[in-house]
């Protein structure tokens, strides 16, 4: 029923228009007097050294890779959960096998220390 999606699109328009209108209205009433000091990067009053396009901890990268793997797994779980009453015991065994394979991977990741932050 495509007409069921009409309210979502209406709400999408409102939700997109609202911040635009708010920012444009603010533009009419607010002052604007930028100066060199105001436009600097804020680092607690100390002059900024370099910019922030440098290197950062590789942990964040590992976490995002792990997220992709396990999130695909949860995506598989949703259709299974919705049809669970039809599947019954077959569904339980099926998902146990599926999860067992994944848990092997999870244990391996844990043993490698990828889940330890420090």
């Amino acid at each position: 029923m495509p007409q069921g999606y009409l309210p979502i699109f209406l709400f999408l328009i409102i939700a997109m228009a609202f911040p635009v209108i708010a920012i444009l209205t603010a533009k009419l009433v607010r002052p604007s007097s930028p100066s060199k000091l105001k436009l600097e990067a804020y680092e607690c009053g100390i002059e900024a050294v370099g910019n922030s396009r440098g290197r950062y901890a590789v942990r964040f990268y590992i976490i995002s890779i792990l997220f992709v793997i396990f999130d695909v797994e949860t995506v598989f779980l949703f259709p299974w959960a919705v049809r669970f009453h039809q599947l019954g015991w077959f569904g339980v065994i099926e998902i146990a096998v599926f999860l067992a394979i994944l848990i092997v991977g999870y244990v391996w990741v844990y043993k490698k220390g990828a889940l330890e932050w420090v």
């Binding site: 009409l6 708010a22 804020y42 910019n51 950062y56």
Partner: protein, 398 residues
């Protein structure tokens, strides 16, 4: 044609109520935290600071909106916009009440009634991470970058247990449609309401969901992205004026969404714990009369002369609302069904919102490595186990 008009009216109403609630949630939060800390909170603007949200809007509107020259302009402007509109969007699939018929018009209380409601909420809320991560990166500030990175890692890590905690009620109700999920929680079992948290055995799943919800909305004790004492303000250091307000609105809108989802999935949505419709109407009326009575009592010992006028006025309005609930219970059952549903949905959601604020006033912040450890080594296996056990018992029941 009639469908379109009803949809337009409902959309306008929900948008208005949502934005008002956002503004006043801020007021409620400041008041509650103030009282927890033995202060009075906002008090000067209007009776008991009730006009404070309006004053805040005026203040933020008239502030200078700086765009520092070291930022990546396109993404810097896009980020608060993304954060606000994605946060507002997901309320459009939440069902607020049952299907009702008033003045000959049949309608569902709630905007969209689609088959993939919960999937849409998950999708939109995981897009929400873009707002914060982009803000942190585009600001080109070291504090912002740290905040944005932390937030991205934290939100994706807690999204897994959240999705798994959501899967358990789906096994019980076998539907992705939020209205059908609420419908399966109707009635009661020997006096215990037939909600997923009780008869579905999802009490553990409910707590897992709420913990993940705290992390997803970046609230204390998981507000690492904006940890004031390490990162100044985290991802929004370089934002000012309405762009800054955008991130705050997004945070409160996300709180309302996750509390609504928790109500729908675990707490039976609009269903009342009192079986008879008249009974739950009378209960709602009594709550309002008690609130009005408290206002009249405080009006007699008013701290300020102004309160002697405002308190009785509010008291009369609230007892009027209570009288409507009484009328719904005994005179006009069709109206009763609608407003009782709204009352119970609102009450449950508001209690959860209160818990959010209460915990902000109570708990300190986690350390970052503790936060990530907790997500991957406790939340994820626990949510998986919760789902498997639910599946096992549902299969056992046949």
């Amino acid at each position: 044609m009639e469908f379109i008009i009803i949809t337009l009216v409902k959309t306008g109403l929900v948008a208005f109520i949502l934005l008002t609630t956002l503004a006043y949630l801020q007021w409620v939060e400041r008041k509650v935290i103030a009282h927890v800390q033995a202060r009075v909170g906002p008090y000067r603007v209007g009776p008991h600071g009730l006009l404070q949200p309006l004053a805040d809007v005026v203040k933020l509107m008239t502030k200078e909106d700086l765009i520092p020259d070291h930022v990546n302009k396109v993404f810097y402007v896009l980020a608060p916009f993304l954060a606000v509109f994605l946060a507002l969007l997901s309320i459009s699939v939440i069902p607020f009440g049952p299907a009702v018929e008033i003045f000959g018009i049949k309608t569902n209380l709630g905007l969209a009634d689609i088959n993939i409601g919960i999937l849409l909420i998950l999708a939109v809320s995981s897009l929400g991470v873009y707002g914060i991560a982009l803000a942190g990166w585009a600001s080109n500030n070291k504090y912002s970058l740290m905040g944005g990175l932390r937030s991205a890692a934290q939100m994706v890590s807690y999204e897994l247990p959240m999705a798994l905690a959501i899967a358990a009620p789906l096994i019980l109700s076998n539907s992705l449609n939020l209205r059908e999920i609420v419908d399966t929680q109707a009635g009661n079992w020997y006096g215990i309401p037939n909600w997923n948290i009780f008869t579905g055995g999802q009490i553990f799943g409910f707590f897992l969901f709420m913990i993940a919800a705290f992390a997803e909305t970046n609230r204390i004790p998981f507000d690492l992205p904006e940890a004031e004492n390490e990162l100044v303000a985290g991802f929004h250091v370089e934002y000012s004026s309405m762009k800054f307000a955008g991130f705050f609105m997004a945070e409160y809108a996300n709180m309302i969404t996750v509390c609504s989802v928790a109500t729908v999935l675990f707490l039976g949505g609009w269903h009342s714990p009192i079986p008879s419709q008249a009974g739950s109407g009378v209960f709602a009326a009594l709550v309002h009369f008690a609130a009005a009575g408290m206002l009249f009592f405080h009006a007699m010992h008013a701290a300020r002369p102004f309160d002697k006028i405002t308190f009785p006025v509010f008291g009369v309005v609230i007892s009027g609302i209570g009288a409507i609930f009484l009328a719904g219970a005994f005179v006009w059952p069709a109206l009763g069904a609608a407003i009782n549903g709204l009352f119970w949905y609102g009450a449950k959601t508001f209690i959860l919102l209160f818990v959010f604020i209460w915990i902000r006033a109570t708990l300190p912040r986690f350390r970052y490595d503790q936060l990530m450890r907790f997500a991957w080594l406790f939340m994820f296996p626990a949510a998986l186990l919760n789902m498997l056990i639910t599946a096992f018992f549902v299969a056992l029941k046949g």
